[in-house]
């Protein structure tokens, strides 16, 4: 690179524009290229609430934030170094996200009178012209005009030409960070394989954007961010929902079972359905049911038949499935229930993230109805957590809740993926023969895990009936006996607690084993807590970080870990849910720290809070 290139350890870019501007695609492409280059990274797509809000309005703004670096990156960044805006609404909605003195790259055509009006700037005000942005480094580019000039004579219509303008911007950003265009060119060739003229136009515009950096005198400085020194190995880029889908498929492979998904489309879980429906050659069957209830019930039917059965949804859909989850608990059949949480209650904030379904997962059923609850902490971790949910479901014959959220679902990070051989085998132990002559088959007799046999239709001599009514111990016959009911309620609780014998101990993510403050997190707050605690440790504070994957049952040593610190702080994107469980369970004065804004914690917010306690 030229001598005037600035060497930096990390950068955060926020791409923003109209939902029709191809912002998510631009972000994804930049992410893939950056990942392949070897930077560590984390991304946060921020979708508009409406599918197609009126063009140019604040409601229609789509955003994609990426933080990448030559050091480890755990969050998509609190605030950005560079804000790329395709129109006035995108600037207005996101300016507060830009660091003081940060760079703005603005598409001037998106700041015409109409766009300014739609973005609700006062009559006659244009932020690009009135000096209000003078504390930032503002770069105005007439992307629309430059794209048109690039594709002049291509024979494409105005609309088609206009659609390639995100490629111009992407090319320009690639120039700034000196990135290869190859990955994106390959992507364009695949995506538009059937329309060579569109392939040509997009590549031409992408290159024009790159060359614009070289030839125009607009930009002062390119930035170099060298590959990150992260654990050696082979990496790929991964989002949470596809990682969840892969974890489920891997568990099916490692257990020798067919995977069955019963699902009903809901934001932000639908992508798992889309993803799994692509993998029929793995024996993955997907059933788009008529409603959420049918989705889980079909999964229960498939589980009864010997499949690894899964249902995926989000909060409101999970609410509808509640009765069937209770049935699965009574039937003691394997089932994985995936909740990609979103803002609630009711329809709430479908496109925003939240962690407010934890109590629903742990307690939200009629009767005494315990089940294991597992939460993923990062996009890549969705793979391992989903795999683990399947293992527990299959080997312990129980429905298991797997909690993800909108932030994990759509966020991305580099993943040092495992090889199939590295993954543990899962043992379904489906019964394949009748008991010995003269012995009666007892469908509710238990093994050392307190799991009952998985006896699937088709095996002679194992014919039996199961159902939602209370079971008599061992025989599984209907029983209204008072002693038996109390016994069975306690047995069902005990067998879920038993899962703790088959999971690892709670470990510390970082920090001293004893000290002033332990930050206890769960789910997608991982990256922000990790970043904040790292900084606090660097600054000499007495603080440690533990992140719980197993929320029910807890690892057996969790209480002793918690008692090693003067204070326990539990940050959650809800009004205080894990903190209630921890207080209830261990009678310790853990302190909650809430953020309920539909967006993740920033590391800065957490750091400020940590400093008050550590």
């Amino acid at each position: 690179m030229e001598n005037n290139t600035l060497l930096a350890t990390e950068a955060t870019i926020l791409f923003a524009g109209d939902s029709g501007d191809g912002i998510q695609l631009t972000g994804d492409q930049f992410t893939n290229t950056t990942a392949l280059y070897g930077n560590d990274l984390s991304t946060f797509p921020n979708f508009p609430a409406e599918i197609r809000a009126p063009q140019g309005t604040l409601a229609g703004v789509s955003g994609f934030q990426i933080k990448f670096g030559s050091t480890e990156v755990f969050t998509p960044g609190d605030r950005c170094d560079m804000l790329v805006v395709m129109n006035a609404a995108a600037l207005k909605a996101n300016l507060k996200q830009l660091k003081p003195g940060g760079i703005i790259i603005a598409n001037t055509e998106g700041f015409d009178a109409k766009n300014l009006r739609l973005a609700r700037y006062a009559e006659g005000v244009n932020p690009l012209e009135d000096g209000s942005l003078e504390t930032y480094k503002l770069f105005k580019i007439d992307v629309t005009r430059l794209t048109k000039a690039t594709l002049e004579g291509s024979g494409l219509g105005t609309k088609e030409i206009d659609r390639t303008k995100n490629m111009f911007v992407l090319g320009f950003i690639y120039w700034i960070y000196n990135r290869s265009l190859d990955t994106t060119i390959r992507f364009i060739e695949q995506k538009f394989a059937k329309r060579p003229e569109i392939v040509e136009a997009n590549i031409k515009t992408l290159k024009a954007g790159y060359n614009y950096g070289d030839t125009s005198e607009t930009f002062m400085q390119r930035v170099e961010i060298r590959p990150a020194q992260i654990a050696p190995g082979r990496y790929r880029n991964i989002n949470g929902n596809p990682a969840t889908a892969m974890g489920l498929i891997a568990a099916a492979k490692k257990s020798g079972l067919n995977l069955f998904l019963g699902s009903y489309p809901i934001t932000p879980a639908s992508d798992i359905l889309h993803e799994l429906s692509k993998y029929k050659h793995f024996g993955v069957g997907t059933f788009q049911a008529e409603d959420e209830i049918a989705a889980i019930c079909a999964a229960i039917g498939a589980s009864f038949g010997g499949s690894l059965a899964v249902t995926t949804s989000s909060g409101p859909g999970i609410a509808l499935k509640t009765e069937a989850i209770g049935l699965a608990i009574m039937l003691e059949l394997p089932l994985v229930i995936v909740n990609v949480q979103r803002g609630g209650p009711s329809t709430g904030l479908p496109t925003k993230t939240e962690q407010a379904d934890l109590l629903q997962a742990v307690y939200g059923r009629n009767g005494e109805a315990p089940l294991p609850v597992i939460a993923a902490k990062s996009p890549a971790d969705c793979f391992f957590a989903a795999f683990e949910a399947c293992r527990i479901a299959i080997e312990h014959r129980t429905p298991v809740f797997f909690l993800s959220d909108g932030y994990l679902a759509n966020g991305a990070e580099p993943w040092r993926f495992p090889s199939a051989a590295d993954l543990p085998e899962i043992k379904p132990n489906i019964l394949n023969s009748a008991p010995a002559e003269g012995e009666k088959f007892l469908p509710y007799r238990r093994d050392e895990k307190l799991a009952r046999p998985w006896a699937v239709p088709g095996v002679k001599g194992l014919e039996h009936r199961i159902g939602g009514l209370e079971k008599e111990h061992e025989t599984g016959n209907i029983s209204y006996d008072p002693e038996n009911h109390e016994f069975m309620v306690k047995l069902r609780a005990e067998r879920v607690e038993k899962v703790a014998d088959y999971i690892g101990p709670q470990t510390l993510d970082q920090g001293p084993e004893k000290g002033k403050l332990l930050v206890l997190g769960w789910g997608s707050t991982y990256g922000a807590i990790k970043t904040a605690v790292k900084t606090a440790l660097d600054e000499g504070y007495s603080v440690a970080h533990a992140h719980v994957r197993y929320i029910h049952p807890f690892p057996k040593n969790l209480e002793s870990v918690l008692r090693n610190y003067d204070h326990v702080l539990i940050p959650e994107m809800n009004n205080g849910q894990l903190v209630r469980i921890i207080r209830d369970r261990f009678l310790i004065p853990a302190e909650g720290f809430s953020k309920i804004k539909g967006i993740p914690f920033t590391a800065e917010e957490l750091l400020t809070k940590i400093k008050t306690l550590a």
């Binding site: 891997a250 993998y279 079909a298 209770g326 159902g467 009514l469 209907i478």
Partner: protein, 343 residues
């Protein structure tokens, strides 16, 4: 899927009886239906272990506990959905759904219509007693308007469902009606239901002698049955009456009751179970028996259609994907198309 010819181990009706005490009220129509099912099932050429009975909630839904096969007594209205998942993944099983008018047409109405639309190859026994029995006597979606029950002391204001009209509307491919008190007809219909490839829907009029006694008396009592009911047989003219002296004709698009003394049997409406238009007329023959000049209530198999089943298409796609792409390779899936190495 199994391709080898299967060996069948015969079993008797007695072997279908479980060790569970049957808990229906004495005199309940369910006893007769259980008896007919236990009589017919051993004659179907099935192995006992490949049979699954699935029910929801309600009096009828106790059924699986009395059948020595695989079975599930699930939750209210959802037997159809549970059976869908089982049948999609285990198409070789013989799946029977036992449900009632409340279970399938009220709380489970949605799954009911979607099961029919998808045409899973299952048999649905819909016990219709026009009342909620298990919850002790509230009106059901098939109770007649004005029905006085515990929850409707002034009479229900609901217009009732005609179950088979719902089934036709949802594109059911086997549509039949039978009654608990006519075991021979019931057994005939059950056998055909099993043979049909697709969702076989058998509505069975079932007397609840505790909460809705006599709801179907006019169709079941010897003194009135012959004049009030008509058993439709494929290829046969629609004749009814104690003296077999009445029949149905089609006058344009209008069915009419005629006397065989005036119209030759050759001119009567010949039942064709493949004719959807006429089947729609038959299921719509749903008159109040007290109305002057009313039609008899038809029984039998009204409509049969051959249509691909959901599980066939579902399994076919799984097979096709494997044929085209080969068995999925987990390592290839995990690595994806874009990877890089950190040294």
């Amino acid at each position: 899927m199994e391709t080898a010819e299967k060996t069948v181990t015969p079993f008797t009706s007695k072997e279908l009886v479980t060790d569970q005490e049957v808990r229906w009220c004495p005199g309940c129509g369910d006893y007769s239906i259980l008896k007919q099912v236990q009589t017919v099932v051993p004659e179907l050429g099935l192995n006992r272990e490949e049979i699954v009975f699935i029910s929801g909630i309600g009096c009828s839904s106790r059924f699986p506990y009395y059948m020595e096969t695989y079975g599930m007594h699930s939750i209210h209205g959802r037997a159809t959905a549970i059976a869908s998942g089982l049948k999609a993944t285990r198409p070789e099983l013989s799946v029977w759904i036992v449900t009632g008018d409340g279970d399938s047409l009220s709380i489970g109405g949605n799954h009911f219509i979607h099961l029919l639309r998808r045409n899973f190859d299952v048999n649905v026994l819909l016990f219709n007693n026009e009342i909620y029995g298990l919850t002790k006597g509230q009106y059901s979606p098939t109770s007649e308007k004005g029905k006085i029950t515990k929850s409707t002391p002034m009479g229900s204001v609901d217009h009732p469902f005609n179950p088979l009209a719902v089934v036709m509307g949802a594109d059911g491919t086997f549509v039949a009606r039978a009654m608990d008190r006519d075991p021979i007809q019931l057994r005939t219909v059950l056998k055909r239901a099993h043979q049909h490839k697709g969702t076989s829907l058998v509505e069975i009029y079932q007397n609840c002698n505790v909460f809705n006694d006599g709801a179907f008396e006019v169709f079941t009592e010897k003194s009135t049955k012959a004049d009030e009911t008509l058993f439709a047989e494929h290829g046969q003219p629609l004749i009814f009456g104690a003296a077999k002296d009445k029949g149905l004709i089609l006058d344009g698009f209008q069915p009419k009751v005629v006397s065989l003394s005036e119209v030759s049997a050759n001119d009567l409406w010949i039942h064709d179970e493949r004719d959807r238009t006429k089947a729609n007329m038959l299921v719509r023959m749903f008159d109040d028996p007290s109305r002057e000049g009313h039609f008899p209530r038809p029984f039998g198999i009204f409509y049969v259609e051959d249509r691909f089943t959901y599980e066939e298409a579902y399994q076919q796609q799984l097979k096709e994907a494997r044929d085209r792409k080969g068995e999925g390779d987990l390592d290839a899936l995990l690595s994806g198309n874009n990877t890089w190495v950190v040294e």
